[in-house]
Symmetry: C2
Subunit: 314 residues, 2 copies
């Protein structure tokens, strides 16, 4: 079975073919062009057809298509309500792509929800878990009894905009202050690390020596090397993540919390303080929830698009 | 249709008959005798049969029975794992009552989950909501897509044991400190009000004058009368409730939060600070969630036992 999958991210867009076992057969990548939403969705359609042709599968061979979108999606109509990073709003994503591809069996959903679907269908996740993406921003998804929960307005998962810092709240891209995303996202870590490099000559020298980039990955490299000011930035972010998760974990009793996104590769640096914050703040019966990084890597959202198709096409 | 319903609470036990529309046909009440668990469950069975006989419905006329239990219940086997207030542990509640009553179609569940079931089946609740009981303790339930969520170990809903106070954490009956239950439950309000009466002669005089009892209800009476130190105790409790709910509401996007339990009758006193805490702490898209007191009153858990039967007997 060939399933078309499209993952439109904040900076890059991937299209590819996935089979019913979640094996990625081919993928092609372009930059996400934010200036013209419809034009970019046309390019997405073309990219998928290109990938299919290159793999030797004509459009008619596709069972259907699943799409991951970087924002709030009305689940029942597959309409993109708002993609904050791209500035897109109220775009009838599924209708547009069905037309462009000539394929009816096509559905769109929020990328974080789709990551959770990939974990559930292709990677043996348990029936009850949370998924947290820590990337430029922070997004969440809830799976209970084997189903992704959408909430009453398809707006479930907004953990990134819970407030976690009240004494020195930093501004968040959402317009508010003190959000988890403003204090614990990849972008937040990058900003704090850039400041560390500017203010601490020892940090700057070490970064040069190790070839560490001035972002969250560079900060992780220095933290891994035992440089405690870099380590402290991950500690702080981990503490905020545990603080926001504690009431959620207490109320939902998930078996596991998966972390995805670029920062998930440094989960080991976030974990000690996340665990201690959960221990100090969550109900004792739920505080020991298992926490792990996804094994699906950067393709989680693309595979999740295929999982969405399989869920909808049942 | 006659459904047997039993609600075993921390201090009193009610048994009665409910029809398929959630109408309570008859109820009888006894004190919950905690010293001997099996003996009390035998009395529960007798009480239900008495109520049925008094209504003119022999045991054979019962379609089945639902039971609400004051603690953690293993949903799949209807075993009472732990009732902290009563000190009961690992009691095969359903098996025991099936035997005692000679009725096979009998299921047991946590009382707070059953309250949510009553709201869902008999009172027109939306598909996505939270239920919070604020009584002696604090318990929660989550309904998503019209189903009560149990979590991986049937331990969902433990919002009462989230920590909310870190500078001056009070001891909680669970053995921990700083729990929501230790700071915002009816028992917590009663304790603080008793201290107010002991320390503030004006409060004591006003309480005598108004005939206010030295508990949460008395505190509510003085707060309603405009006595600001009593009002401040509800403000504080409301703030803690909003604080604990903020990440949960952000992650689940419920349409509504119902409050039940004795303190729910004073929801108007809790609401201003609860709303401001939600506004300051929850994701903006979810902070405006509707909050209301249940209309089911003290019978919510008994009606919920009947709703559990209807759910299981499908």
């Amino acid at each position: 079975m060939y399933i078309g999958a499209i993952d439109i991210g904040g900076s890059k867009t991937i299209a590819g073919l996935v089979n019913e076992n979640g094996e990625l057969l081919i993928e092609k990548q372009i930059v996400t062009e934010k200036s013209d939403c419809a034009a970019h969705f046309n390019r997405c359609a073309a990219l998928l057809l290109e990938a299919a042709a290159e793999y030797g599968a004509p459009a008619q061979a596709l069972e259907g298509v699943g799409v991951s979108l970087p924002g709030m999606v009305d689940h029942s109509h597959s309409v993109l309500l708002l993609a904050p990073g791209a500035g897109w709003r109220d775009f009838p994503a599924a209708e547009f792509l069905r037309e462009a591809l000539g394929i009816r069996a096509l559905w769109c959903e929020n990328d974080v929800n789709n990551c959770a679907r990939a974990e559930l269908r292709f990677a043996g996740a348990p029936e009850n878990f949370l998924w947290i993406t820590v990337s430029t921003g922070i997004g969440g998804a809830v799976v209970a009894d084997g189903r992704v929960l959408l909430g009453c307005n398809s707006l479930a998962g907004e953990l990134g905009h819970c407030k976690v810092e009240f004494e020195h709240p930093l501004p968040c891209p959402c317009g508010s202050r003190g959000c988890l995303e403003a204090h614990a996202s990849g972008a937040a870590l990058s900003r704090r690390f850039a400041r560390l490099l500017a203010e601490d000559p020892q940090a700057a020298a070490l970064a040069r020596e190790r070839g560490a980039s001035p972002d969250a990955a560079g900060c992780a490299a220095l933290a891994q090397a035992g440089f405690s000011p870099a380590r402290a930035l991950f500690d702080r972010a981990g503490g905020y993540l545990g603080q926001a998760l504690a009431p959620v974990v207490s109320m939902l009793n998930p078996e596991r919390v998966y972390f995805g996104g670029g920062v998930a590769r440094s989960l080991g640096l976030l974990l000690p303080r996340m665990r201690s914050a959960l221990g100090a703040r969550a109900a004792e019966s739920c505080a020991g929830v298992e926490i792990r990084a996804t094994g699906l890597g950067y393709e989680a959202s693309l595979l999740g698009a295929a999982a969405l198709f399989l869920e909808q096409a049942r």
